[in-house]
């Protein structure tokens, strides 16, 4: 019994250690790879970012609409429906935008990264690169990581913008909130700091989601079942990590 606990703990430590070493390696080489393999990075920005835009835009539109509906229904009771814009805008910019974008990213781009790298491993493509004296971490892993890191803030910006538009459509066009009040209230209440909080979050989430996806893919067991499991784990672990970090960042910013 004690032995099993110890074994599990040691296994955890080993995995954790390997993970930290991998992360350090990725971070250390990232700047050089960014410049020396710029075309590969751009290709991955396209794969992770551009190909995720449709799902991000559709989700943003509806999430913004829902926020406006909920806000309006509650604020109306206090005759404060003019502040619908503040509610929807704050929620989108500081919380919902970065978090939902990260969750959608994990489902759309993270899984693609993990399964692609895992399959390359399962079909010996990574070993073949090793044998051709090309480091797969620099050629395969880091460009994908950077692609994700660059895409996430951009996707978050798209999500939030479309979300605000969605909220506008629902609140102003449908529910009849005064358009001037809607935008002016939001503009007055919103500080640069609030916007920055959202941007910081999107950067952190971009790093987390991309790093976990490439880690899971690179360390997948090279079989069909192993790659499948790595793909699932990517979504699950990223979602949990993003939500925990979201809480920590919000706490850190609010308690300052």
């Amino acid at each position: 019994m004690l032995r099993e606990i110890l074994d599990t703990f040691l296994k955890f430590l080993r995995t954790f250690g390997a993970m930290v070493l991998f992360f350090v390696r990725v971070f250390l080489h990232s700047p050089a790879v960014f410049f020396s393999r710029f075309p590969l990075v751009i290709k991955q920005v396209y794969n992770a970012g551009a190909l995720s835009i449709v799902i991000i835009m559709v989700s943003g539109l509806f999430v913004g609409g829902v926020l406006a509906l909920q806000a309006f229904a509650n604020l109306e009771r206090f005759n404060a429906e003019d502040t619908t814009g503040i509610f929807a805008g704050f929620a989108l910019i500081k919380e919902i935008g970065p978090v939902i974008t990260a969750l959608l990213f994990a489902g759309r781009a993270g899984t693609a990264l993990a399964s692609e790298i895992g399959l390359m491993k399962a079909t010996d493509q990574l070993s073949a690169m090793e044998m051709m004296a090309v480091d797969p971490v620099r050629y395969v892993v880091i460009p994908r990581f950077l692609g994700g890191v660059i895409s996430m803030p951009l996707l978050t910006a798209v999500f939030t913008t479309i979300g605000l538009a969605g909220a506008h459509v629902v609140a102003v066009e449908w529910l009849g909130v005064d358009v001037g009040a809607y935008w002016q209230q939001l503009q007055q209440a919103l500080d640069m700091e609030d916007v920055l909080e959202g941007i910081y979050k999107s950067i952190v989430f971009g790093i987390i989601a991309s790093l976990l996806a490439v880690w899971e893919g690179y360390n997948a067991i090279p079989t069909a079942a192993g790659v499948g499991r790595a793909t699932t784990r990517t979504v699950v672990i990223t979602a949990i990590a993003v939500l925990i970090f979201d809480f920590m960042i919000t706490a850190a910013v609010s308690l300052r």
Partner: protein, 275 residues
């Protein structure tokens, strides 16, 4: 056997290597040498670690004990950049070709050139088409790997393995899953490339007939060590039980047909013990 050769005639020397995966010992005191300019076959029943041996020689894996010397250099002592320099002298053909799936055949073969040389586009095109022509697939240059048959993938991979003009070509199970014609083509290519380009080739396989035709020297590996070695003719004439079983494909012998199991009768008719 020609043991009279000088030591420097050996391009690769494996000395007393032990290697284990987890608790499972793969090699125990394995020693063998690969002659310069030879086609050396490494044969053995499935699961004896033939592929592992290739990974050890190219330092994709590190042995638990023992030394591996390539062209006079102990590869354990190399830094990563030195190792990568050494690997440029190797060409390796993986079991399934291991072509990069997001590039065309042409780009796959050009890949090592683009990574390691500053050749002009014109020259790259020239070199790649020459190599593809050598394996008979110049016409397939602009297909994607997904459009190729198994035998074609392996020939493209061979062209890619040769494109940097390596000194050593390593083939991991080049015949598995191929039809007889493709098998013959690959066997012919192995011999031709080796002689025309002055290479040293290592072929891991268990296709005894094909490999006997093209190799100069063979090792049979079993139970973690060299069970027999010699020219194909010598091995064919070998009467030791294991070599005979292997060379002639007998179902039972020293390599048992049955995986280790409890006593058959007892397991089927066992008393009510829940097994």
């Amino acid at each position: 056997m020609t043991w009279s050769r000088k030591l420097s005639d050996y391009l690769i020397e494996v000395h007393d290597v032990d290697f284990a995966r987890g608790d499972r010992s793969i090699f125990k005191n394995l020693s063998l040498t690969i002659g310069r300019g030879d086609v050396t076959a490494v044969m053995g029943p499935s699961g004896t670690g033939k592929t592992t041996l290739l990974q050890l020689i190219t330092r994709q894996l590190v042995p638990d004990k023992g030394r591996i010397i390539v062209d006079g250099v102990d590869i354990a002592s190399l830094s990563q950049s030195e190792l990568y320099k050494l690997r440029q002298r190797f060409g390796m053909l993986f079991q399934n070709g291991a072509l990069l799936t997001d590039m065309s055949v042409f780009e796959n073969v050009a890949f090592p050139l683009r990574e390691h040389t500053e050749l002009s586009e014109r020259l790259i095109r020239h070199v790649v088409l020459t190599k593809l022509h050598a394996v008979g697939l110049r016409g397939a240059a602009y297909l994607m790997p997904g459009q190729l048959s198994g035998g074609m993938s392996r020939r493209v991979a061979l062209a890619r393995a040769m494109v940097m003009d390596p000194d050593i070509l390593i083939y991991d199970e080049p015949f598995v899953g191929l039809d007889p014609i493709s098998m013959g083509v690959i066997a012919k290519l192995i011999r031709q490339m080796n002689d025309a380009l002055d290479l040293t080739s290592i072929v891991v396989s268990h296709d005894v007939r094909e490999i006997s035709e093209v190799s100069d020297f063979c090792y049979v590996i079993a139970d973690g060590a060299v069970a027999a070695s010699g020219s194909p003719d010598e091995l064919n004439a070998d009467t030791s039980a294991l070599v005979e079983q292997f060379m002639h494909g007998l179902a039972d012998g020293p390599v048992a047909f049955h995986y280790d199991a409890p006593d058959y009768e007892e397991q089927l008719l066992g008393k009510a013990r829940g097994n």
